[in-house]
Structures are given as structure tokens and as C-alpha cells.
Amino acid sequence: MKVILDGAAVEVDGKATILEVARRRGVYIPTLCDHGRLAPHTACRLCIVAIKGRRGVAPACGTWVEEGMDITTRTPEIDRMRRQILELLLSEHPSACLVCSEKKTCVDYKCTIRKVGEVTGCVLCPNDGRCELQTVVEKLQIETVHFPAFYRNEPVHREDPFFERNMNLCILCGRCVRICHEVRGASTLAFLNRGSRTVVGTALEKPLLESGCQFCGACVDACPTGALFEKGVKYEPRPDCEKPMICGFCSQGCALLLELREGRIQASPPAEDGPVNRGQACVRGRFLVRQAVYHPKRVLRPLIRKDGVLTESSWEEALGLVAERLAAAKPGEIAALGSAQSSCEDTYAFRKFVRDGLKAARVAGPEAFSPQARLLALGGDQGFVPALNYAIADIGKAKAILTFGPVLPMVGLEIQGAVRSGAKLVVVGGPETPLVRCTRAWVKIPPGTEGLLLAALSRILGDEGAFAEGPALPGSAEFKKLLREVRPAEAAHVAGLSQDKLQSLAQLLEKRRPAAFVFGPAFGEGPGGPGNLAALWNLALQTRGLLAPLGYESNARGALAIANAVGGLSVDEAEAIYRSIPDGGFPVLYLAGPAPEFAARPAGFVVVQDSYLGGNAEFADVVLPAATFPESGGTFVNVEGRLQGLGPAVEPLGESRPGWRIVRDLARAIGLPGFEFSGPADVLAELSVAAPAFRSDDRRPLAGGDFLREPDATPPAFAVRPAPAGGPAPRFEHNDDRYQGLAMDREIRGLALIRGNK
């Protein structure tokens, strides 16, 4: 359609607001309440424009252009009104610095700094220099406020972890309230009172900790002023550079934009262009990166146990000792445990080292227990290779969603978005999570009965002829035969559900397509795990729904692909290794990843490669300090199978080194050839040769943003062979809040408060 903007004809495609059209044309319209992710609020009224043929003025942010609309963005009267509205806002916002006559010289010489206190000006405001109010004041050239200043005198809320709320700086644009409600679905923040007494706060003015806040920090990032501000950086100088980084705390792979000052991380807000998180983060990514990297439990130099005490040493001495003991071990005496939180480069180097350098070692990693590994195991039992890649965004397109166990934060947002646009969510079992609030039903069934319930659903759907349309899939005839033996009434009884509820669940899956089935690691664990997985797999095939396995560790998918290429173990074998280690099954232990907590010294010689002095360091003979993810960078594969790689953002702290370099140096100390990497790029190049999953069709290595290749995947088929019983769950703690040896939910105070750990 054609519209006229300030006299110029503009062609507009699709639905757009006047503000959007103006921005595309480079026409500046001031605004404070508009936010890209939020519905128009039309409250600050700074974006008023004139439309020919309409009475008065209209807000550009909340007015959609129409064919032939003739818009004037500036007239003397509009400018006057904008300035007056801004003056009204400034009359209730500490603005002494904003309209100070010495503003210009103050920037250089701070000549007037002592003339203002915190409550009257910008000089002591944490947001000074990146405040949107300052920008708009500049643009509108406000030099005086013609109204007497009014200070709200609201108490500053400092009681909560991670950020403060100072409503004296608030201009009530409502972005925080709206993002909390519209995007995060938490609805923790709200407008309290009305009229000139309106403030943003929580229900009954309780602390955020008691108000269901997830501390995702979305409100802090949305705030145009300093009203909501991160605590730790409040009094630090402004960052001098920003570097993108993939968050290494969980398997979603959110993109962060690290704010650095003199090579130190200050804050880690989410990046707007992150393909997974699109400007959102969770408490870990948003607030814990700095705290984890500079945590007091970091190991900064290699440690060697001397006379029973871990003593700092040089890399040379530590590596020499490790090399000596590893080389001296007899075949089968070494167990090496990897990590699924290291980059692909680190993981590949480690795996290769164990395979080539410690020929007789048994190696395993937590990726062996990931839902993806269990799905592969299911395929192995049933005679097919499942494809594991999917897109989190597709969960948001589902019309019916079933979840089993807690979901990842961004997956939660997708689900909430789907529910807002009409999808129905059913939470099956598990603890109460924030998602339970927006479910149609929370089906609380005893653990272990999931498979029974799912089979019953398959049976009911089969009875109603609700096999999805399309060509019959392999095994569907046998599957239908098997279903005849399922007794829905019995299953409902065992699961403690009424028949009606079971029927309504089946109806939901029948009427609402596509469906999405989201499940966490616990779903496939334990004796009933393989049965659960088989039943879910079949139900998803039957309804042609999306099967979305979630995971814990940031690079579990990558580690799994590497392990499978370099020589991986089955779930059972991995479990056997983990079980036998605490019982002294191996004289030499190389722990580069999580292990069960030991009650006593588990081996004659224990090497711990970690960034933190965790629980198992107590039994370590040598501790090799590893770098954290912002220091080592590297390639990570997220839960979808998406490859994301970035260089390091900061130098490793102390003498810590990235994992691939520790391996290289160790190989050098042993005298092992084949590890002469000059940098992570070398490792990746070798990896893409060794593992076809990391290679594109034309044999080039995959680039960031590509999905892991699954050349072996076969067409899906129904799982019709009897599922074996699963082993007992591994004895080390699965925990989203654990990063390497650091239990963040205990060691970082703010997170401990949120998780309820005193």
C-alpha cells in the first residue's frame, strides 16, 4: 500500500505501524514506551503524529498505516506538545543533570558533580550514558523544565538478588510489566495503585523472591531508565566493548552479548539476534556468567597433592606427574570421564587422547545418559536410527503440547507463546513448574506409569481411526496388533486417572494437530525408561507429532556425536563404568567431567580437570585448571542440533587453559604424536574429518548456525519389539544449575536464594 510520510510517498508491505514505517525510512519519532517484542502501549504519547483527515493527533506506535494515509511527523504544535509531555515526565524524574546548563562541560571535567545528589541528577545514576530518557531529551532539545520537580520518595527495593528496583527513576512506560506478562508469562510485576500514585511493583508489595519471579532479567533489559538495574555492576564504569557468546550453562545455546570493561566481564545480557532466545535469557545466562567466571572457587594454577595438601605448582610439574602416572598404568586400569559442558574442540581432543594415548582406558561422559542417547539406544533395539534434530520454534507452532518433566526456559517461552495463540498444554507428572500455570490439565500420575498412559492414548486414538493421514509407516500393522492388547481402562486405573480424563486427553491429540511431545532426561531413566520412550515414540509417530527431547549439558549433542564417531559406549556400559568407579574399580582416574560424589578415595591416582574446586577435588592428586566457556569459546551443539561457535571473549583467568590445550600439552608431555594443534580451528578441522556429523554435503566443515548432519538416520518406524528394562539411574546428580565443578545453586548466593537453598 502507499502512504505519505512527511510529504514523501512510501510503499509499505503488510501490516505496519506508523512508527515502524518511519523507522524504516530513517525518520526519527521519539518514543519511550515502545518495545520491539511488545504490543503497542501508547502511554508515553511522545510519538504523536498528525494524520490528514483525522481529528487531533495519533500515537505512531499504536496506529497502523492504511492505504493513502497522509502522515506528518512534525509540526510546531506537535514539537511543542512532545516537549511538554517530556517535561511532565522529567518533573517526576530526577532531571537536574538532564537540563543543566553545564551539561556539556560536565562530561569532560565533572565540574558540577558535587552539586547534585543521587536523587536529582544523572551523574550518580547507574544508567548514565545509556539512558533512553537522556537520548530523547537530547533529541527534543529540552533545556528547562517548566514544572516544579517532584520526588516520589519511593523506597528503593534492594531486598532481592541480582537487581534493584528504584521507582523514583521510573517513568511508567510499562515495558517491564508488559515484558513480564506478554513475553515471559510470569506476570510478577504489575502496576500498583492508580493515577499519579501508580508504581510498578509486585502483588502486596512482597519481595520478588516471594512473588514467583524467575529473575530472567527481561524487565531490567527492557527498562529505558535506571529504575531496574543489575546489582553487581551498579557502581562500575560503563563497559568498553561487547562480545557475543553462546551461553554454556545449558543445552539451549542462548546467544549473550557480554559487556566487557578492560577485559573483564561485567554483565551478560541476551543478544537480540540469538536464533534460539531472541533477546531473552534466564537467570543463569543473564546474571551468573560474571559470577561463575570470577567465582572464588575457581582454580587458577595447577595443584599437586603434597603431604596430603593440594599445593600450587607449575603446569610443567603437574603435566609431568600426570603423564608419568598415565603412562605407567597397566591396560584397563584407567577410567576417564568426559564432560558434556565443554566445546566440541575440547571434547574431541579429550576423546582422541583417551583413545590414542591411553589405549586401555575406559571412557564415558554424561552425554551417554542424555535423552538423545536413549533415543538412539531405542532405535538400536528396534532396528532404526532416529533423527534427533528439531527446532524449538516448531514447539511454538504446535496446537497440542504434552510435557514430561521440567522444560528449558526458552522452550517454556515457546510453549507459553503457543498457549497464548490457542494451543492446549498438558503437563504430565513432574514437579510444579511455572508452566503449570498455563496448562489445560496437569496430569499427576505416579512416576513409572507414563508408558502405560501413552500406550492407552495410542490405543484410544487407534480405535477412533486417528492414525495420521499419509503413507503407512513401517511397523504400523504390527503396532496396531500390539495395541489390541492395551487396556485403557486398566491403564487409567493404574495411573490414577478417570476414564473421562483419559478420553479427553486422547481427544485433544486427535483434534489438535500438530502435537508436540517435550520430555526431559528423567523420562527415559530408570527401569521403565526404555518402555516410556518406546510408547512416546510410537504416539508421536501415530499423530505425526514433534518429538522434542531436552537435555542438561550445553554440548551433550556435540559430545554424543563425537563419542559415536570416536568410539562410544552404550548407555548400559557407561552406567557400568560410573557405578564401578566409586567402588575402586579403576586404580587411575582422569576426571574431566562430573562423577558421582565419592565417600572415600576411589583410586590410587586421581586427576581432576575442572575450573572449580568441587567436591571431588578432595580426593584429587592433581588438579588441572580449565578455562570457563567465555574464556575458551569454541563450538557447541545445542539441544536442537544447531551448531554455534564463537571465539573466546576474555583471556583465561590465572593460568587456566582451554581443554584442547591441556590435552595437547599432556600429549606433548607423554610424547604422543597427532596432537600438534596450534589452535581450536585445527581441532575442528580434524573433527569434521573424523565425524561426518560435522561435515556438510560438500565435505566442508559445518559453520555456525548449521544443524548437525544425521547421515545415518533411517525413516521412522514404529517400535514394536519389547522394550528392555532400563538400569537404575546413574549415581551422579543431574542438575541444571551445575557448571563443571560448581554447584551454582549452592555456591552463588542469589541463585541459592531463588532455588530455596539456605
Partner: protein, 571 residues
């Protein structure tokens, strides 16, 4: 209560009711709206019941507890039918005399009747009383007769016949055409043509469609809608049913203030009765028309009278207004096409269908048709609700109906249109009261509040009062209203305390222009009106306060006071 499944059932029921009705020689109709009750109507009713029982008159004397008769100054009052004797300012002690003299002996008790101040003669019947003489009570007439808790009483005055006519003799388009032809304009304030509004909603895509009755009457001293809901709730329901049929709506909401408990009670009762009779529900009167009606009570937030806030409140959200367009007719309640009208507008609809649009359009002026109920309060002798034809000169309301200003003081101004309206000075006393003349005079019709002021009123203080009300009731969403009302109030407070500055008038005018143009909803846009209209007609009073530090009316006591604590207005 009968189940009505055919249009003829209405007439049959009426005939049956007439037949069954005990033939009372006399019927006493006692006013017991909220106003009557607060003036002491309930003890009078109890005493009447007791006295009738005592005298054994149950068979011959009927007692009807009605809604407000409008003459609030004289409450508690009653009318004895069929003669129509109007007794005023009653107490329980008057009851034996009323029964003994007027009922049994047909005598008029002269101390209880009104007198015409012009002639000094007794004015026994309402039509003789000056307060009623110049009124045209077509909406409120039924309040003299019917018990709002009895649907039978409404059936007896041909209630729901207009609905039957619409459903069986007219198409939906025909109903809208009829309302358009009547020239009915919205009684809620802005005066938008009702038929046109219905047409927009009918043409909008979306299903289901909703109709809403805005009964969130919140202007200080205005209680037209409360009185209609209390006295004749079925007329509102019938209007909504007809409107819903015209628009194609299948569900309706009545949003009524919770602080009008009697109105909530009566309209809730009426909805239940109408539902039991099959007038709400499926296949109404045997037609293909289905309609369900819900009652929502608001918490007494002024901004909920704004249509988008009201809908947010029904949806269970914080009642913040939102930008229009899209208008409710396109995207209203739960995003569906919605038509909102005020109580009085809905109550006019059955009337139009019953009398025909031509007869209705014969009342009023060229661009303002029908009657309007005004709530006449302030420094006036006859406080009450008055229903007058559109276009009646202000003079007739003040002097004839209102009986002039109290205590012999001089008439100074009348404030119309609620807090967002304006003041009309005594010099414009011949102004015809219709939508357009009022706007031209710098005020507006609003919902019909009319506050009379005499020479002892300070106009700056009046502006301050209304602005204080609005800054208190501002929802706080948009900046011009939230902060603007507050800064404006500070300036006004400063002026009334003798600390006004010469620039203040210009400053207020500039701020008013911004608020009027840039505010999000009608509350903020109308907020500066009280200042602008008093500045227009009483600028000299502002100048007296600012330049000469005097309050001509002697209202602003703190003027000249040096106490700085007085600077801060209420928060």
C-alpha cells in the same frame, strides 16, 4: 412467572394479569430508590404495611414500592393512585393520617402536599407541581407505578412488546433503520448517533458479537442511570435485547457500579426473572433469536466508564483504556465486535419501537432528539432527577423546574457534563440544552449531571475540585493525563492559596492544550475542560486570585497564607 414461547404470550399474560389483579380502590406508590431510602422511605413503608393490615384494608388498598420519582428534595414521597395525590417529606408518624384521611375519607392532607410558590396554592397532583409541570417524563413515568422487582408490572405496561415487534415484524436492518430514523444519540456523553454505531457493529466481521450496557455511572452527583436501573430495570434489558437483535449479538453484559447495591440487586433480579420467562436465553419468544445476558459489578473506578477500560475490566484485566482505533465495533470485548451504550440510551430503544421513530423524532431539536434526564443538584431549591425534551432552555430548568437558586442567592453558573464538562455562566441562561449548543458553550451534555452554583461559589475552587477528582481518578497509564492533571492541580492549588504567578494562566492554557490533544482517553482529554471553561467565562476570578490575592466569593480561606505545608495537594 410464565415461560413465554410465542409473541402472543405477552398479551395473553397481560390479560391474565389484569384479570387476576385484585381490584384495589386505591394504590399507594412509595418511592424507595437509593435516594428515597436514605431519606427514610423504609420506615414509612413498614408503617403503611402495618396500618393497612391494622385497618384490614389489604383487599382494597394496594401498596407498591417503586423506584425514584425524581423529586428527591421531597423524599420520602408517595403517590396515591388513581387520583394521583402526591405527598412529600413523609415520616412514619404521618401514616395513620394518610390511611385514615386520604384513603378512607378521600381527603387531601394539606400539610403533606406541595405548594406552587408562584400562586401559593396547593399543588396536589404531580402535573400541578411546578417541578413536574415542564418535564416530559417518557422514560421515568413508569417509576410512578411499577415495582421493579415484579416483571408482571412491566408486562402490564406493555413491556417486551417492542421486543416482540422487533423479532417478528422487523428485520435486523429494519430495527437499525428505525433507531437511525429516530435520531437517538448516545446518552453517555459524546452523543454519537446510536443507529450508526449499531450499523458499524453489525457490519463488522467476527463472532460472537457482544452488546454492553455501560452502567458505570461515576460523575459526582449524577444518578440518572442508577435511578433507571433501580426503578425500571426491564426497560434496559428490553432495549439491549432489541439492540442485540439488530446488531446480531448473542451475548450481553451489564457493567454496573458495585457501590450502587440497590441497582445491582434490581437489575440482577430482573435478569433472573427475564431468563425464567424465556426472554433471555434460546429461541426468545419462540423466535430464532438467542441472547444471554450477564451482570458484572465494577469496583467503583471512574475510568471504567471509558469503554475500552470497561471491557478490560470485564475481561478481568487492569482497567486501562487503550488506543482507538480499532473501535469496539471492530475489536471489542475479547477482540470481538462489541457495541457499548449507556443505560439511558438502551432504555430509549423500546420507547422508539413502541411509539415509532417519527413520533420519537418529533421530540427535541433538529439534531438532538428525544428527552434527556438531568441530575439537578447543587445550590438549587428542587434537587432531583428531571426529564426534559432536548433543547429546553436552561432557564426553564433552573427557574421553573428547579424553583430557582436556594436561599435567594443569585444564580452564577451551572456545571454540566460531569468533571470533564464545563461551566455555563448565568449570562447564557437562555442556552437551549442540546448536544451541539452545550459543546459550543464550552461544555458538554455528558451523562446529564447539572451542578447549580450561586454567587457564593468560587469558580477557581470549582475548577480545582473537578481537577482534584480527575487527578485522583486518572488511571495513570498515559503521561499527559497522569502527570498533567497533577501538575495542573498543583498550579490551581497554588492559585487558591494565593501563591499564583502571573504566568500561571498561560501555563495552564498551554498544558490544557497538550492534555486535550495528546491524552489517551476521554478522561485526560476532558480533564482540562473545567479549567478552560472557567477561564473562558470567569477569567477575572483567576486574575483576582493571582494578581490581587483575593477570592471574590470568599471561598479560598487560605489565600495569602504563608504556610508552605499548604502547597502540597492531596496525594
Amino acid at each position: 412467572v410464565r415461560k413465554l414461547s410465542h409473541p402472543d404470550h405477552l398479551a395473553e399474560w397481560k390479560a391474565l394479569l389484569l384479570e387476576e389483579r385484585p381490584v384495589h380502590a386505591k394504590t399507594i406508590a412509595v418511592t424507595a430508590g437509593t435516594c428515597g431510602r436514605s431519606a427514610g422511605a423504609l420506615p414509612v413503608i413498614e408503617a403503611l404495611k402495618a396500618e393497612i393490615a391494622k385497618q384490614g384494608l389489604e383487599k382494597t388498598v394496594g401498596l407498591v414500592v417503586t423506584g425514584c420519582h425524581g423529586y428527591c428534595e421531597m423524599e420520602p414521597s408517595l403517590v396515591i393512585h388513581p387520583k394521583g395525590i402526591f405527598y412529600k417529606q413523609l415520616e412514619a408518624a404521618d401514616v395513620p393520617a394518610i390511611i385514615g384521611e386520604s384513603i378512607l375519607k378521600d381527603k387531601v392532607i394539606s400539610r403533606l402536599v406541595c405548594h406552587d410558590p408562584a400562586t401559593g396554592r396547593q399543588a396536589v397532583r404531580p402535573k400541578d407541581i411546578p417541578f413536574y409541570r415542564k418535564q416530559m417524563r417518557i422514560l421515568t413515568e413508569a417509576n410512578f407505578q411499577i415495582d421493579p422487582l415484579r416483571i408482571e408490572d412491566y408486562i402490564l405496561i406493555d413491556g417486551y412488546q417492542a421486543l416482540a415487534r422487533a423479532l417478528f415484524d422487523m428485520t435486523s436492518e429494519g430495527v437499525i433503520a428505525e433507531v437511525k430514523a429516530s435520531g437517538l444519540r448516545g446518552r453517555g456523553g459524546a452523543g454519537f448517533p446510536t443507529g450508526q454505531k449499531w450499523e458499524f457493529c453489525r457490519a463488522a466481521h467476527g463472532h460472537p458479537k457482544y452488546v454492553i450496557c455501560n452502567a458505570d455511572e461515576g460523575d459526582p452527583g449524577a444518578y440518572m442511570d442508577r435511578s433507571l436501573l433501580e426503578g425500571n430495570p426491564h426497560s434496559v434489558i428490553e432495549g439491549m435485547l432489541i439492540g442485540a437483535y439488530g446488531i446480531g449479538a448473542s451475548e450481553g453484559y451489564i457493567y454496573v457500579r458495585g457501590d450502587n447495591p440497590l441497582a445491582v440487586n434490581h437489575i440482577g433480579h430482573a435478569i433472573e426473572r427475564a431468563r425464567k420467562c424465556g426472554l433471555i436465553g434460546e429461541n426468545i419468544l419462540g423466535s430464532e433469536f438467542h441472547f444471554d445476558l450477564h451482570l458484572v459489578t465494577g469496583a467503583g473506578v471512574y475510568v471504567c466508564g471509558e469503554e475500552t477500560s470497561l471491557m478490560a475490566s470485564i475481561e478481568g484485566r487492569k482497567p486501562y483504556p487503550r488506543q482507538r482505533p480499532p473501535f469496539p465495533a471492530q475489536e471489542g470485548l475479547w477482540g470481538r465486535p462489541t457495541n457499548i451504550n449507556n443505560v439511558e440510551t438502551w432504555a430509549n430503544v423500546p420507547l422508539i419501537l413502541r411509539k415509532g421513530s417519527a413520533a420519537y423524532a418529533a421530540i427535541g431539536t433538529e439534531r438532538s432528539k428525544g428527552t434527556k434526564i438531568f441530575s439537578l443538584i447543587g445550590r438549587i431549591r428542587n434537587t432531583g432527577l428531571v426529564e426534559v425534551p432536548m433543547g429546553i432552555p436552561l432557564r426553564e430548568i433552573i427557574n421553573d423546574i428547579g424553583g430557582g437558586v436556594k436561599d435567594g442567592k443569585a444564580f452564577k453558573a451551572v456545571q454540566t457534563g460531569g468533571p470533564a464538562g464545563g461551566c455555563i455562566p448565568a449570562s447564557l441562561i437562555d442556552l437551549p440544552l442540546d448536544y451541539d449548543s452545550l459543546v459550543q458553550a464550552g461544555s458538554m451534555m455528558g451523562s446529564g449531571g447539572m451542578v447549580v452554583m450561586d454567587e457564593t461559589t468560587c469558580m477557581v475552587d470549582v475548577a480545582r475540585y473537578f481537577l482534584d477528582f480527575l487527578q485522583d481518578e486518572s488511571c495513570g497509564k498515559c503521561a499527559p493525563c497522569r502527570v498533567g492533571t497533577r501538575r495542573m492541580l498543583e498550579i490551581l492549588t497554588r492559585i487558591t492559596r494565593g501563591r499564583g504567578e502571573p504566568d500561571d494562566i498561560g501555563r495552564m492554557e498551554e498544558l490544557a492544550a497538550t492534555m486535550k490533544a495528546a491524552s489517551l482517553c476521554g478522561l485526560g482529554q476532558g480533564a482540562p475542560n473545567s479549567v478552560l471553561s472557567t477561564l473562558r467565562y470567569f477569567r477575572h476570578e483567576y486574575e483576582d486570585h493571582i494578581l490581587r490575592k483575593t477570592c471574590p466569593a470568599g471561598v479560598c480561606k487560605d489565600i495569602g497564607s504563608a504556610d508552605p505545608r499548604l502547597e502540597e495537594p492531596r496525594r
